[in-house]
Structure formats: structure tokens, C-alpha cells
């Protein structure tokens, strides 16, 4: 144990040394005038031009998904997913509160990690993007037509939903693996009895090919390890899914020492097609549980949350040939599969070398039953039997590997702060470039598919320090853009990233941009309180509930004067934006209300609740600078005492 601990401390010290170097290293790459000028032109997207790629980055502790353009590094949008988002009122408006419902109740924000774009035949198809909620385990599906979150499904029996949300090569499944093992089902038991008793659930969520709707097909209940990352087999290995494990020691305390004892942990290889067949034939066990399934409907502009009461679990030891364990050096993080599907790369984060497993050799070993024992009944393959090769990288702390379209792979090294380029098949190192500082994951557009677009690699760095002007103790994270069209990588740009992007996925803009929706059609608006014509605006009372069906159009609210509201009322503003032009939102703000402000896109209806507590005459106004007369887009509401007998009245002057 002492040796391991010392090694770790040494590695960590290396991190500090490397990460404390100044920014001169960065400067040197830009100090040559001609090179600087060439790099400037490479990342410059002039006014009127468009970026070549959409990059989607997880928000980490923002709980959202951000959209960047490459090569410019400009952020085009923050899509609210697992978190309340004041800008659009997501998670606050009556219609979207159900999106954040879980079996634990309403959870206002989460930690989002790994976006993955839907695929057909192993290639990016640009229909949807999926992302995992890490803390309160969930998977979200976002439309790449509207760039809005359409669905969130909770994952039961899971805790720290980290080895998620990656898709199989026809998006048959989006897969979610627990990071932490827990009692399944949960029960009150001593933490010290973890070993041998806790389980790790790997969930396979079926995706409807027409609608994108998700449903948990089955959960594989694995030994109580930690499951870190995962990737699908593709091409020849389609039908399999690979998960890195760590803490195979099953320690429950002081993991930074106790979970690094074993020289090798595992990659778990799951033959999901075999398990699918098993459950289709009635296999598996239905377990009572409780998890939320939240769906947003784009016509009613409203979400509903349904609680689901059972889940199908399978015991992998009961399905011969379903699961194998591939020994992999020390606490691997990333688990990556090359475009051919033959090579499975284990990035052993406390190791110097990269280990590459051969899928063909794995099948051979399985066929020949060459096992090296088992773990809780799951066969362990022999390391040497399945080894395709080793990359003698010379780096420290490999984390994640992606691929280009020329047979090269690119691996990040957290501790030695660099990206290393190497040749798939020969395992030779071709190039290495420093990152500033402590790179986590990296991304090549399509780098997790059969068809990567090897023009750029983006390094997502964990330490920012002096890369930008300082902004106090808290800094944005930082990405770096490398041109990888030549033999050598060229660092061409630094750009800050919002939240803590852990992971990213990117797609050529041409594959999706023409499909982007511009407005919501008013004639398809099915919201129960929608006002599709100004003259239909109205105010109705039901006890102390008041419903205001209000319209907005440049530059008028209808109604704009309302009387007869009383202290203690629950006032619901249902606001419809009547515009049908692209990019003409209106906003609505009501002073002092709890959910007091909302942005509404053309053709959309949103609802906020106001509970007036004080008598008086209170203004409302449009929050989006919508027209030359935006400042005139306002109105008043009179609030009378609770006991007042003033009747509801309102003006429809705007007709």
C-alpha cells in the first residue's frame, strides 16, 4: 500500500509543478508573426460567415448543455436541461416545473456530464443529443431541431450516473451506468458492509426511433465496483458495450488510497444484444421502484411528469455469454472504441501507458473459454490473451482517447497536461502538444463514431489560472483548439467554457443547420390557455384563482389594464407570443412576483404564477427589446384588498 500511495503523491506533485508554469509556454506558440497570423485566420469567422461545426459541451455543475461554434469558440446558446434557468424561465414556469421532478421531489439543479449525439449506422445523424444528470441520476434528450430539452428519464438503482449517456450505433439504446454502487434496492445497512453487498446498475434505455421517447428496457446488476465511463461497440463490435471500472477493491472510505491497490481494474464488456434477447424471451426480474419520466410536448408547450413503479433487472451471472471482465491497468477513466470497432482503449489514469484490447482476440478468448477466474461469477479474461498493444506514451495520467479519419488516435494526459497523437495499429507516438492546464477530456467532431471529422481537436482543461484576464477566485474553465489536419497538432486558440464542461460532442453544421426550427406555429398551439387572437384575451376567476390569458405582439399586451385582482389571489399569467417571425421573442415581467419574469418565443405560451401580497397599482412590461416601441409595451394591474368587491375588468384596447 505504501508504494502505491507514494506513486500517487508523486503523480499529484507532478500536477502541481506542471500546472503552476506561467503562460509563456502558450505564448511561444503564437510569438512567431506569420504563424500567429495564420492561426488568427484559421479561427476567425468574419461577420456574415458561419462556423463549420456545432460543439455541444456539458455544463458540469451548471446542469445544462452549451452550444459552441468551431473554430470560433463562440457560445451560441445555453440549453437548460437539469437546472432552473432564469433566462427562459425553464424550471420556474408552470409548464416546465415538471421537467425537474424526480423520485426525490423537485430537484432545482444537477451536474451534467457527457453529451452524445444520436447515430444511424454508426454515424452522427443529428436527430437528438443526450446528456446525463450525474447527481440525481437521469438522462435527458434534447431536440436538435428546437435545441430544447424534450424529455428526462430518471434512472433508479443508480447513484452518480456517470458512465452515461452514450448511444449504440443506431441509437437503439442510450446507456447509463452508475458510478457508485449502492444497496439495490436501497436499505438501511452499515456502510462498512459495502463489500460484496452493494451493486452497480448498468441501465439500457430503449429509444423510440420515430419520437425519440425513452424507456428503460433493463438494468444489469453488476458487482459493487465504481463504473466510470463507457462506450458502445461499433461496426464489428456492434452489440457490445464497454464500461471502465475502478475501486474493484470495493473500498468505502479513503478511496484515494484504498481504491488504488489493485494493479489492474476491469473493463466490463456487456453483450447487450444477448441480454436483449434474454429479456425479450421473458428473462429478468421485475423490481418495484419509483422513478420519474418527464416529457415536454411542443404543441401544448407543457411538460408532464409520470412516476414509474417498476424496472426490469437482470443478473448477469444467469445469462451465459452476456458479460466478461477485461483486466485493464489501474483505475481506468475513459473507455474508448476506435471507428473500426476492433480496438477498445482503456485509459488507466494512474498508469503511464495506454492499454488497447482487441475485440477479435476477446471473442477468441471467450470462445476458447480462456478465463482467469471470475468476479462474483463473471468471467475474467486473461490480460495477455486480449491485448492488442500498448502505447508507450511517456505521458502521465491518460484519460480519454478520440479518433480522426486517418487512422490516428489522440489521448489526453491529465497529469502531464498534454495531448498525445498516436497511430492506431502500430501504437507509435506521432506527436505531443502541451495543454494549459490539466486536461480532462478531449473531443473530435464525430470522434465517437464510425466516421470522425478529423479537422480539430478540442482539449477541455480543468485548470484555467492565467489563460485569461483574471476574474477573482472563481474562473471559467478553459478549452483549447488544435488544428489536426497536418502531421503535427497546432494549438490555434484558447476559449473559456461556461460551467464545467466535462465532455463534448460535435457535428458538422451542414448536417443539422437547415433543419433548425425557426418559430412555433401558432396554429399548432394546443396550450389550454393559449390566445391565438388578441380578441380572445380574457381574465377569468375561479374562487381565488385568476387566469389571465394574455397576448403579446409588437408592441402591445392584451389586456394592458386589469382590475379586480385581490390580495391573496393566485394569479396565473398565461402569456402567448402572437409573433410568427423568426427571432421576435417577447418577455413579461410582473414586479415582485415569485416567478415574475418569462421569455416567450413566437407562437409559444408560458405560464407564471403571481401571488400579490400588497394592494396597489403594479406595472408589467416586456423584457425583450422587441421593437422601437418596446419601452411602451407595458400595462398595469390593480390589486385591491382581499375583502374588496371590485369585479374583474380589463381593457382590450390593443385590438
Amino acid at each position: 500500500m505504501k508504494t502505491t500511495f507514494k506513486l500517487i503523491m508523486l503523480l499529484l506533485s507532478a500536477t502541481f509543478l506542471l500546472s503552476s508554469c506561467g503562460n509563456n509556454n502558450g505564448k511561444s506558440s503564437g510569438s512567431d508573426g506569420a504563424l500567429r497570423s495564420s492561426n488568427a485566420e484559421k479561427v476567425y469567422v468574419a461577420p456574415g460567415e458561419h462556423d463549420e461545426f456545432y460543439a455541444f459541451m456539458s455544463g458540469g455543475y451548471s446542469g445544462n448543455l452549451t452550444v459552441y461554434g468551431l473554430p470560433s469558440g463562440r457560445m451560441f446558446k445555453e440549453i437548460p436541461v437539469f437546472s432552473q434557468f432564469p433566462t427562459s424561465g425553464y424550471g420556474y414556469s408552470e409548464e416546465t416545473v415538471p421537467m425537474l421532478n424526480t423520485s426525490f421531489g423537485f430537484v432545482p439543479w444537477d451536474d451534467s456530464h457527457h453529451p452524445d449525439i444520436s447515430q444511424t449506422n454508426g454515424e452522427l445523424d443529428g436527430r437528438w443529443i443526450f446528456i446525463n444528470g450525474n447527481n440525481t441520476p437521469r438522462i435527458a434528450r434534447i431536440s436538435l431541431k428546437t435545441f430544447e430539452t424534450e424529455e428526462i428519464i430518471e434512472v433508479p438503482n443508480s447513484a452518480g450516473n456517470h458512465s452515461s449517456s452514450f448511444v449504440t450505433e443506431n441509437t437503439e439504446y442510450v446507456v447509463a451506468g452508475t458510478r457508485f454502487s449502492i444497496p439495490v434496492p436501497q436499505k438501511d445497512m452499515p456502510i462498512s458492509e459495502y463489500k460484496g453487498n452493494f451493486k452497480g446498475a448498468l441501465s439500457f434505455i430503449k429509444v423510440d426511433q420515430e419520437t425519440g421517447r425513452m424507456a428503460i428496457k433493463f438494468q444489469v446488476l453488476m458487482p459493487g465496483f465504481n463504473y466510470d465511463l463507457s462506450h458502445p461497440g461499433r461496426n464489428k463490435s456492434h452489440g457490445w458495450f464497454f464500461f471502465t471500472t475502478y475501486n474493484t477493491e470495493e473500498a468505502n472510505s479513503l478511496l484515494e488510497v484504498n481504491a488504488s491497490q489493485n494493479d489492474k481494474d476491469f473493463i466490463a464488456a456487456i453483450n447487450w444484444k444477448k441480454i436483449e434477447e434474454y429479456v425479450n424471451n421473458g428473462g429478468g426480474k421485475i423490481m418495484p421502484t419509483n422513478y420519474a419520466h418527464n416529457v415536454y410536448d411542443e404543441h401544448s408547450h407543457s411538460a408532464t411528469s409520470t412516476m414509474i413503479k417498476e424496472v426490469l433487472t437482470v443478473d448477469p451471472t444467469e445469462i451465459p455469454g452476456a458479460v466478461y471482465l477485461l483486466p485493464t491497468p489501474k483505475s481506468p477513466h475513459g473507455c474508448d472504441v476506435d471507428p473500426s470497432g476492433e480496438y477498445i482503449i482503456g485509459n488507466g489514469k494512474l498508469s503511464a501507458d495506454l492499454t488497447i484490447h482487441s475485440f477479435t482476440k476477446m471473442l477468441d478468448a471467450i470462445e476458447n473459454k480462456k478465463f482467469d477466474g471470475d468476479a462474483y461469477g463473471i468471467p475474467i479474461l486473461n490480460f495477455e490473451d486480449i491485448l492488442a498493444g500498448t502505447v508507450k506514451s511517456g505521458g502521465l495520467g491518460p484519460l480519454h482517447t478520440e479518433f480522426d479519419d486517418k487512422g490516428n488516435a489522440y489521448t489526453t494526459f491529465f497529469i502531464s497536461s498534454e495531448v498525445v497523437k498516436w497511430k492506431v495499429g502500430t501504437w507509435e507516438v506521432i506527436d505531443r502538444k502541451p495543454t494549459y492546464y490539466s486536461v480532462g477530456h478531449l473531443m473530435i467532431p464525430g470522434g465517437n463514431s464510425r466516421k470522425p471529422f478529423g479537422k480539430y481537436v478540442v482539449a477541455m482543461n480543468k485548470i484555467t489560472k492565467d489563460r485569461y484576464l483574471p476574474t477573482g477566485p472563481e474562473l471559467e474553465h478553459s478549452a483549447q483548439l488544435y488544428d489536426i489536419t497536418g502531421d503535427k497538432m497546432e494549438l490555434i486558440y484558447d476559449f473559456p467554457t461556461h460551467g464545467e464542461p466535462h465532455y463534448a460532442a460535435a457535428i458538422p453544421a451542414d448536417l443539422i443547420k437547415d433543419n433548425s426550427q425557426k418559430i412555433y406555429r401558432l396554429d399548432e398551439n394546443k396550450h389550454p390557455y393559449a390566445v391565438t387572437n388578441q380578441s380572445d384575451a380574457k381574465v377569468t376567476r375561479n374562487g381565488n384563482e385568476v387566469h389571465i390569458s394574455m397576448s403579446m405582439i409588437r408592441s402591445h399586451f392584451t389586456p394592458d389594464n386589469i382590475e379586480g385582482i385581490k390580495v391573496g389571489d393566485k394569479v396565473y399569467f398565461h402569456i402567448t407570443n402572437l409573433e410568427q417571425d423568426f427571432d421576435v421573442p417577447h418577455g413579461f415581467a410582473m414586479i415582485g412576483a415569485n416567478t415574475s419574469e418569462i421569455l416567450v418565443m413566437p407562437g409559444q405560451t408560458k405560464t407564471i404564477l403571481w401571488e400579490p401580497k400588497q394592494v396597489g397599482v403594479w406595472p408589467f412590461y416586456c423584457t425583450d427589446f422587441c421593437s422601437a416601441l418596446h419601452q411602451e409595451m407595458q400595462g398595469y394591474i390593480r390589486v385591491s384588498p382581499k375583502e374588496s368587491n371590485i369585479d374583474l375588468s380589463w381593457s382590450l384596447d390593443g385590438e
Copy 2:
């Protein structure tokens, strides 16, 4: 009325035509290879280099303040101000919830509009930046040392706090004017009785020069107009403050027609030094009211909210020489003062021309009592007597003017979508450049001070449409960067902006960057539950309240195993980050908790509440990728049934 209405409709149609043009216009400016290359180099900040300016942009309906670098257009930080912010837990953590307290209760988000940087002798001094909450009227003060919100003061008797938050030239005051007039004090009355009965409060908030602490010194109760924007006098006009008004018709409905009847509205000129003297001598009337004053203490890392029960109001008609009205063409928006303090520019948004008032002529007219009647007892000056000149711009819809350091002014025109450069003094138009599309405000670093830094102008555009890759119906807003070092402006870059930036302020980086704080000192941490040494970590119970004082350091939580928690407990996690290195945050996430996740900077303590509802063993983990062993930074909490008699216990293994 009909003529006015037709004019307005014509202007609005013009907006549509202009805003629907394609992006080829933008492209033309970049289509010449040499020019494109030169512009690329102008905006390129190579890896290892730093931007020249900090630009601070309001978030609009995000309620926050964003920090950009110029010329790169990269966003360095989003500072939470008036809105809950999942990324840092602002407005969710126990310590920061009081920051969003108001007289209306807890308000989770707002609409932020006009940042202004503190000044000394009329020049930017980089101590603080102020910004207004528009919907629930408030002013916030943000430290430019920590880039965190330190204080928020509510503004009573106000509604739509829009003509805010601008500072006088030694930051004696930050000024906040109501946009909407309301009954003062509020009362239940018919909206139709608005005219003559509602009031518009203009608030002067004193700023303590040592601490920055704000206190409302007095409110001027003005006639029931709308007050749109404001700027301080400077240099020779120091001691005065100028506010644009519109809706001097005092209409209460259909304002887009009814508030555009008068050919001229007013700029209200307030002699605040005279009023200050008046109130220092006992003038004014104390009015009972109720407003929140929220202060964040950087040593206890905690905010407190105090309710203040009275405010000093003044009736301007009782103070001779205090307030005058300057007739200004049609519904002016921006109200801008040139660096010399001599010229006051009214940007009449429904007018084609810019009207420039002369401060010297204004004083003359006042001295000679050349009035053209009064409005509710406030003298109206004669338009011709105070006119310095008119800019025959040829544009439509002037909104906002800023200044460079060479005697030029730059005005945005919303309807004709352009920036027009003109000469101060001769009023001749020198240059005009299109904006894409519908520009609102613009910004030159220091452009609202005695000493502008005239290198760039940033146009903040209200319509984005095709400027970037499409992202569904909802788009980010868009800024455009012009090089203004030559005679002609040169459009060099487009960059998207987060939220809806209404307004911006910028400062040369050299003025503040060396002052930026890097960590919070652990030896200054006065949080009552801070753990400054791992061995002090502990868990205590008081009835059903459990306080966990927990430490975080690479790569360990102390304690990391906790038992004895019961269903129904209120569990407070007080989490201290023991790191003392720059840019080493840790995060904490607890599954399914309502406020379940928090980011903590080095030396800081934050608290979140967890109310476990289910028995079981639940993990927690670090949310910030902090070290090579980040994935090992985790722990477990055992939750037993309510009636269980298991005592609290925890492990301090990490010592």
C-alpha cells in the same frame, strides 16, 4: 393622433425591412482577403496572450452580469446578481439566499439592465461595478476584486427600475430612477386615475467611499411620467443628473400610441447637490416604507438581509432651483453627457435627429428665468434657449450616444440599424456603418466618463437571426465590434452575448487585473461552521437538525463515511475548501437533495440543506475535476429510519 400613429407604423415597417436582409451585407465587409486577414489579427488573442479590455454586459432576463474580453469577444464569467445560479449555488446556498430577499419576499430572478463602473474625478477607478434589477427594483454592487456581488439594496416607491444604475463622478451616489410611475405610497385606486396622481421616484443612493456600502439618501418625487435613462453631469456639470422622460402624456393604456402624442417630452435636470444641501439641513419628509438591504460579508462568506422601514422623500417644487425640464424631441431613450460635461444629448427614439442641449445655455436660461411654463410646478425651459445643436443624422430611431477621446460621438439608430459617428461641436456626420440587426445600446470603454478609451465600439444588437449557426427558435443576442481608431469605423467581429445584454461598461484591463483576488484566506474565514483543519471536522445533532462541518482537500472529504442520519432530519452540510492555491475549487453533490450541489472556492465555506426522505446508503462526491484522483473523492451517508436509535458516527480517515 392618426399622423403620429402612421409615422410609428412606418418606422416599424422600416425595422422589419432592414432586419430581414440576409447576412451578405455582413460578408461584404470581410470578403476582401487582405481586409479579412487584418480584421482576423485585430480580434485574435493568441494562446498565452490577454485581452486589452474587460467588458461588463448586463444579462437582461438572466438577471446577471457577464464579463467579456475585448477584442476577442470571449465570455470570462457570468456573475450571479439578481438570480439563482446553479453553477455556484448562489441564491440556493444558505449563505446566499438572503441576497435575493426583498419586501415582496424571496425573488428568484430578475431583469438586469445597466452596469456602471465606479469613478473618481470622473474617470473609471475600477473599485466596483453597479447594476440595476429592473423588475423588482434594486441596485447591486459587485466587487471588481472578487467579481462577486457584495450588496443589493431594494428601491422603494419604484417600479421598473430602469433609469439606473449610474454613478456621479466621484461615486458619491449611484442613482436609480423608476421607469413606471405608481401611487406613492402604493394604494388601491383605479388605473384610469393615473394622470396627475401617480408619481415617479428618482432615488439617490449614497456610496460609502471606504466600504462601498449603499444607503438611500433621498428620493425625488417627480410627476407621473415614465423615466427611461439617465446620466450624471461631469466636469463642469458635476452636481447635476439628467433623466429622459417619455409618456409625459401620462397615458395608462395602449402606450405605443397614446404615449407618442407630444412632439416633445423632457429631459429632467436634477441639481442633486442643491437637494443634498436641502436634506442635510433637515429638508424632506420621512415616509414609512419597507425595503431590503442585503450585504454579503467576505469573511463569514454569508449574507444578511435587513428590512429598512423608512425613506426620505423630497418634493422638488419645494426646493427652488432643484429641478428643471428640458424639452426634447419625442420619447427620448438614451440621455448622454459628453466628456466635457457641456453637452446633454437626448436620443429621441421616434425622431430622426439628435438634439443636443447646452449646459451653459441651460444655466443662463435658469439664471434669466426664461421658462416656458411648468409641469406640476417644475419649470420648463425653452427648447431654443438651451439648444446647442442638432445632428442631422439621416438615421431613424436614435437610442444611445457614447464618446471617444478625440471629440467624436457615436450614436446607435435602432430603426435604421446603424451606428453614426459625428463630431461634437460641429454636429457633422463623419461616418455611418450598418449593424446586424436593430442595434439597441452601444459601448465605448470609459465612454460614460471624462476619459474614454476610444479604440473600440461595441454595438449590442437586438435581433440575431442569421448571424450565427441557428439554434432553434431561441437565439442568443449578438454584439458587433468596430475598430474606431481610424476616421471610418471598421466592423471587425460578431460575437454572441449571453442573456439579453441591454447595456455595457468596459475598462482597460491594466486598471484592474493586478488587483484581482486569487483565493479566500482560510485564516480569515469567520464562517461559524468553518473547518480550517481536517481534524476539526465533525457532525453534531440538535433535535432533528444535524450539522456536518466537512472539509475538502485534494482528494478527500472529511468525514467521508457518516452514519446516524435519520429520515426527517434537516441535514446541513457546511463545506469548507481547505485549498489555498488559486483556481482549485472543489464541489459537493448529495444525491436527490433539494439544494444538492455546490461549488466552493479555496478558503470558502458554503452550506446546503438536505432533508433525506428515504432510508439507504447514499453517496456524495466532488463535482469539480480537481485532481488525478478526483473520481476517488467521494463518501457515503447512511440514512436510517426515523425511529432508529443509531448514534451519529463518522470517519476522519483522511487526517
